[in-house]
Amino acid sequence: MEAIPADPAPVRSTDEELVERHRYGDEEAFEEIYRRFADMVYNLALRLSNDPEEAADLTQEIFLRIYRHLGKFRAKSSLKTWIYRVALNQCRSRLGRKRPAEPLSEETERTLSDSGRGPEQRALADDAQRQVAEALARLPPVFAEAVTLCDLEGLSYQEIADVLKVRIGTVRSRIARGRERLREALEDMEPSKETPS
């Protein structure tokens, strides 16, 4: 009896293929782009704003801009780099008009970080995370962006340079100065305690 070949596994489209499909009106292509990059965009907006509601609004605006302009994407950079740029531009535009980020409430921070540890440990960790998140959002945007892309998004210096369209030396400088300012801010928050480790 002849063996029946199994159905081939679905082929995952590359980012460029998704863009091409979107250009030709494939609605599912944009849906897939959203699935791939929503987490990245939302967390970037969240860390730069330190405000879940603001981050949600920003994410909507960012994806709307992506939808509108994706047809113009020419693959001179990767899609990921392009989306980072769109996201950062939108964050700068919106957050630049607002007052410095308010610290998150304890409840909100607890909601954001459920680590499954014991209550006392969790409280200490939440407090430390809250301070770091607040200090990060209060950094000048040029430093906050560089530090976020490096330490939270895991991009290399070259990738960050591509996103920000600056030289690697500039990236190195911004990251270093951003971390230095964070260190000073965290020391100011808890002058009697050591920097959380």
Partner: protein, 213 residues
Amino acid sequence: MTAHADVEILSAYLDRELTASEAERLEDHLRDCSRCRNRLDSLSSVVTGLHRLERVEVPSVLTSKVRRRVALERQDRALGSWLDRLERRLAGMRLDSATFTLAAVILALAAISYLFIQHVDRAERQRTPLVVTSTVPWTVPGAFERRGDAWWPSGVPEDTPVTATYASDAPEARAIFDARPEIERLVSDETALVVRDETGRWVRIEQRASAPR
């Protein structure tokens, strides 16, 4: 390497972004410089604190909102595209105020003509019986149909008996035509007319060569 390591060098060292020779020089310096080691440790603590910021899952309600806004955008685009095509078409016609005025006048004339024709037609139909040439009887008030050599009112069964025949100039026929002047025209040399008289009987009226109109 300067007396103490620059914060950029220390920071880049944490990220493994120094060249091999730069890293080697720094490591040589750190062996002998506690101040730089402490600065490096401080920076490392900051990076560790950042790494502990947990990644947050995208709220499902946010995903729904994004999908809804994209769907609206898609609808707007479709409408916008249609309006753009209409605009281009109108632009190609080089419309101006004179053209619009002319178009309005033509439309008004067409409307008036239509109403006039409707009025004339209604008046004409009131004078002229509706003649149906089909042999299939159907019920329309005032409608007649041709059966053989005579006009019969539509809907009248074919086996209806005709009780009398009159010449078109006979008094009985004149009485019928006086009451319904519009049916007199149906009587001709080729065709007779079958109608009810004032008593309800079915009678046939024929054209006579000598009968005056």
